[in-house]
Symmetry: C4
Subunit: 226 residues, 4 copies
């Protein structure tokens, strides 16, 4: 897919996410692959449903530096860019979505003090690459920080935690979520699947239907200790 | 209706269902009648709101074999196809809708261990062919299986159960629902009516308003035993 | 407004109401004034968001007879037509909306055994002609009947009840609501206002926020007895 | 931005707000800056999603007099205009939004007898100018009055209260909210952020998740008294 098509699809997805109330108030963001192997990133402080193709930046995956500016020189890339490049490097993906969907905030609340939520017994788990509907899927929950760039350290710890190897997303308490995929289509599918799953665990918990078992945070090492 | 019109309507309905959050994350599906008496079926793994008319397969009602491929030879027909042809054969219908609507998952949860939910005291029951608003309507609930094709056996049992003769749909626990009709217009009407009814029984149950009576699963034979 | 414009607006409003989930599954209906002082009525059994201007009937206000058929001779006027003409005669209005909105069913449930719900302490009351936000507004609730035409008797009793003189709508238990206005713009405003008000009383009741006081059904005569 | 563009954007925003159910039943309103430093104000009694650019009034910031009428001389400016000019004068802003969103009514209910709600621990606080996600943000709640113009006195008191210096909005009990920003883009961002925040505090309160601490109304002087 050429950069021009990627740019068109990114702004179209932002409009779709706005309609679903996943991004609003200029919050949220998205990136996709640029032709030269880096990331096309939306600008900060802009109403996301009104981003135009020429408003996107090309950001270097290795160090988050700007490789190509937006046409409007007053724009700056989204602060999410540091999370985006980290996830891109660590997971080898090129499309990451960031939303403030209320359902993801409530799913984070549901975790209480735990460092993850458990999602199970839902066909939609198959919407996440590699999962079956028999899996007990752990989605990490990290604490929010004053600035988005400060989330980098905890995202990095989460990405290194083998309990979360199967996760293509992370919940940020009081904030929302990041979801990724190899390309934009997988990121879109994962975004839709996770938002559905977050909504489902919250809806089930408040009705007492098949509540997920939230377990205390323990490292794999501790669990494997004989 | 010629195949071309059927194809256009099928992709339009998928877009409508996506907007209503009934299909998402590439999940869900639909089929309609082909001119030669078989089924036009959407492909698997595709974002359903973006299916194009030429992406549809003609699938043989008798054995689920492919009679005509999609224009894009990389596509495969939806795994639902086995359920679609089964329902088409057993009920003599040609349009079946499969959704993951959260409301249908919660309606399945509401059934608890029972093998059905009861819907009653709702005018919208008239949206289902043959029903009046005085009926006590039983919608079967079956357990989910690892693969969609494995649902065939329990769907078949449900279709053979005389308690469910009046049903034009089945809930799949943790998964969603299948809804059918003679043609696409009836399938659409039944899909809208059932999703409304599922939402209504869940909304009433959580508020304690006119809750449906969920009865233990008993066969008609047992009930009729003197 | 000429008939052609009225027809255009009626089908546009049906599409809007479908998007809001107020009409679905071919249910619901609407009428507006015809040039000759009678009613333009939507057909029955048609997906309401797909009604075309030429699908509308002109129905006689005095006896519900058909004055002008739809272009498609297979169509029949909505069964609501008997309610529509009754309200038109008794209230002197020419536009009536009928919806199955889940919020109106839940508002009816909220009434319990009472024959009305009370709406108070809401600015949106001003959306109903003649009301202030200090009013304690009674909306009648009648029982559903097997056929829509059978509702005529209880709608008539409700229209004759002085407690409900200020109401421009009626809730039908397990069914939905009828809402009216002098012309289509007032009917639209009343429809939006009542659906908001129904949603508000249900939302407040379930959270224990400012619940409406539901009083036992008493006639004005009893209340005025010294 | 020239008046023509401002007019276009104002009517576009009204359509967006209607789709989000923030304005309905002809309720709600918006204003933006006119070229001559005053306010472009929507008319009263008009279905807000159908306002046309030529339906807007230019209203004098200093005394709410009409500087330029709408093309249709039957129209009158929204009764909100008195609140709009007050906020414009006191806060130096030129765009104010008024909605009846149910979420803002429920957020007002949540305040109980207090004169404010507290919003905290939400990233979306950053959507409000000057706030961080570590702030404990107080949004004032004032009582509704029979006529909109009568709200002026309590809005004025609220604007003078130092506890609410950081607020760009006010909740009106049983009614909705007013939200403002320097220009239309900031007012839009604040409107989206506050509606999200109101929804979040209500959603958390009903589930017992991280409920905001509602404190009794005390003046800054009392709090600082040794």
């Amino acid at each position: 897919m050429a950069d021009d098509q990627t740019r068109e699809l990114l702004v179209e997805l932002l409009r779709d996410f706005y309609r679903k109330d996943w991004v609003s108030g200029t919050g949220g963001g998205i990136c996709g692959p640029s032709d030269d192997g880096h990331l096309l990133v939306a600008p900060t402080g802009v109403h996301k449903e009104r981003v135009r193709p020429e408003d996107l930046f090309v950001v270097d995956v290795s160090d988050t530096s700007i490789r190509r500016r937006a046409a409007d020189t007053a724009l700056r890339p989204s602060e999410c860019a540091h999370i985006f490049t980290l996830v891109a490097r660590e997971r080898g993906v090129r499309s990451i979505v960031h939303t403030h969907a209320l359902g993801s905030v409530l799913a984070g609340d549901l975790a209480g003090d735990a460092d993850h939520v458990v999602i199970e017994r839902l066909e939609m788990l198959k919407g996440i690459r590699g999962l079956t509907n028999e899996d007990r899927h752990l989605v990490p929950v990290i604490d929010n920080t004053p600035r988005e760039a400060q989330l980098v350290a905890s995202v990095q710890r989460m990405l290194a935690d083998p309990r979360f190897d199967a996760a293509f997303g992370v919940l940020v308490r009081d904030h929302g979520c990041y979801v990724w995929g190899t390309d934009m289509w997988e990121a879109k599918r994962h975004t839709e699947a996770y938002h559905y799953l977050f909504g489902a665990v919250v809806a089930r918990a408040e009705r007492g239907y098949r509540p997920p078992v939230v377990q205390p945070s323990t490292s794999v090492e501790e669990e494997e200790r004989p």
